[in-house]
Amino acid sequence: MLIQPFTTHYLSEHYGDDAYRTLAGYESRGGFKGLRAALQREPEEVIELVKSSGLRGRGGAGFNTGLKWSFMPKGDERTKVLVCNGDESEPGSFKDRLIMERGAFQILEGLLIAAWATGSQKSFISIRGVYKYPIECVRAAVNEMYARGYLGRDIFGEPGFHHDVVVHSGAGAYICGEETGLLESLEGKKGQPRKKPPFPAQHGAFGLPTTVNNIETFAHVPFILSRGVDWFRGFGTDKSPGTTLFGVSGHVERPGLFELPLGTPLGAIIEQAGGVRGGRALKAVIPGGMSMPVLTPSDLDVPMAEEFLSERGTHLGTGGVMVMDDTTCMVRAACVVSYFFRDESCGQCTQCREGTGWIHKLCQRIEAGRGRPGDLTLLENVPGMMEGQTICAFADAAAWPIKGLLRHFRHEFEQHIHDQCCPFPESFEL
C-alpha cells in the first residue's frame, strides 16, 4: 500500500501523517481554512475565483472547474446535486485512491466549497466497488463530519447552509467513470452514458441540476481559497496551473505517485521514478492513462500539461505514466489495451460495441502469427469508424491508443505479419 507519494507539494504534504486522517488533525494542519474563506464571499465570487485560478478537472478531460460550476442554474427551486467521481478505473491511474485513503477531508472540504458556490444541498461520492478500503476511509470521514456538525443543517455557522453527503459504492464498470454513466449507476441503472444535451447541470442525477467533479479536483479547491489564486498559479503552467499526482508504472525502478507541478517534463518524471529498470533502453510511454496515444523516447522533453501534449498528438488524461522498455512487444501491448476496451464497452452504440471487438480480434491474430496482409489496413480503418460516432467518448478512448501504436510502431505490426510470429521473445507474458 502506498502511504505517501515519493515527491510531495501542497496537496500531499501531510499524507504520511496519520493524524491528517482525523478531523481534528486535518483542522490543526490548516483544514477548513479554505471553506471558511469561501463563506466570507458571495457564492458568485467563489465561482469567479475558482474560474480565474485556472484549475482544470483532474479526471481526464481537463475542463475549467469554475466554469463547470457556473453552469449550475440559478434561482432554480430544485435540489442541486454535486457528484464526486471516485470511479477511478483508467488503467495506469491510482492517484484518487491515495487521496481517498490519506486526504478524505480535503475532498469533503472541496465539496462543501463547491456546495456553497453552486447552492447545492446534496452530494454523492461515488467510489468504484473494488476500492473497499478507500470507501471505508471516506465513510469514516463523512461520519466524523456529521458528528462534529460539519455536515447536515446550518453548518459552519451559516443559517441556511445545509448539506448532506451519501457515499455510494459502484459495482465494477469502467464506463461509470464517464459522468453520465456514473449518474445512471447512481440511479440504480446500467451505467450506459446519456446523450447530451441535456447536460447534467440541467438534468443530472435523478433529473436534478448536477455538477460532477473528480476526487482530485475537489481536493485542490481548498488550497485555492485559503492561499489565493496567485499562489496557486505559482505552480504549473499558465494554461494548466497547480500540481497533480503523476502515477508512474511499468518498467521503472521505482513505480509510484509523484506530486509535481503540471508542465514537469516527461523525462524528469521518469527520472524521479528511478529511470527505466535494469538500465534498459526506453521504448514507449503512455503519458496519461491507457486511453491516451503513446509517445516515444524523442518526446521525453515534453512538458506534462495538456497544451503541450496535444501538440504531440496525445493528452494528459489522468496523468498515469506507463513506461515500456525495449523488451516490450507493442503488439502485445495492443492486445492488452484492446481486450480492456472490448470488455468494458457498454454495448450501447454499434460502432463501439462492434469496433472494439474487431480491433481486439485483429491484434490477437497478428500477435499469434496469423496476421493477414489486409489486417493492417483494417486495423487502421476501424478506429476511424468509431471516433466521434458514439454517445460518449469511450469509443475515442478505445481508438486513440491503437492509432498511436500504429503511428509509432507500425513496423512491429508489419514484422509480426511478415514473420508470422512474435519477434519479441523477451517481452512480457500475454
Partner: protein, 153 residues
C-alpha cells in the same frame, strides 16, 4: 432473503431522491447474505423496488461485481491490465492456475476459491497485485501469492 436484509434495504431508500438509487447497495446486501443473486432474489428485489424483474436482472449482469451464479468461498482476482502485465501479472496468474488446478474464471472443486482476473484495480504503482475478497495484496511474487491463497479457509 432474510427480513433483516429487507429492513436494511428499506433503510437505504431515504438516502436517494428516488428509491431505485438504492438498487446497487441493495444488491450488495443480498450478496452479503446469500453469496450471489438468484433469479428468485432478483424477483424479490424487483418487488421491493417496485420495478420489473428484468430491470434488476439487467443491472445484475451489467456490473462485474455482481454474481448470478454461486461462487467459491473466496474470490482471488489477479489484475492483468497493462501496468500489471508489464510487471509479470500474467506469469503470476498462470502460476496460481497451476497451483489450484483451475483455469481463470473457474472455482476449485472443493468450492474454496473462485479464480479470476480483473481489469485495472488502481494498484499500478505496486504491481503485480491481486484482490482477495475485499483486500488488496500488492508487490507480489508467486511464492507470496501462493501462500496467501493457501491460507484461505
Amino acid at each position: 432473503m432474510k427480513p433483516e436484509t429487507r429492513k436494511k434495504i428499506q433503510d437505504l431508500f431515504q438516502h436517494y431522491p428516488q428509491r431505485r438509487g438504492a438498487l446497487l447497495p441493495a444488491i450488495y446486501l443480498v450478496q452479503e447474505e446469500l453469496g450471489h443473486v438468484s433469479p428468485q432474489s432478483a424477483r424479490e428485489l424487483a418487488e421491493l423496488f417496485e420495478i420489473e424483474p428484468v430491470a434488476v436482472w439487467e443491472v445484475l449482469t451489467f456490473y462485474n461485481m455482481f454474481y448470478t451464479e454461486p461462487q467459491g468461498r473466496h474470490h482471488v482476482y489477479v489484475c492483468t491490465n497493462l501496468p500489471c502485465s508489464l510487471r509479470g501479472a500474467r506469469t503470476l496468474l498462470r502460476g496460481i492456475e497451476d497451483h489450484l488446478g483451475v483455469s481463470c474464471g473457474q472455482t476449485t472443486s472443493d468450492g474454496r476459491v473462485t479464480l479470476g482476473h480483473e481489469e485495472c484495480l488502481g494498484s499500478c504503482g505496486t504491481a503485480p497485485m491481486m484482490r482477495v475478497d475485499g483486500q488488496y495484496h500488492e508487490n507480489l511474487d508467486l511464492d507470496r501469492a501462493l501462500k496467501i491463497v493457501d491460507d484461505l479457509d
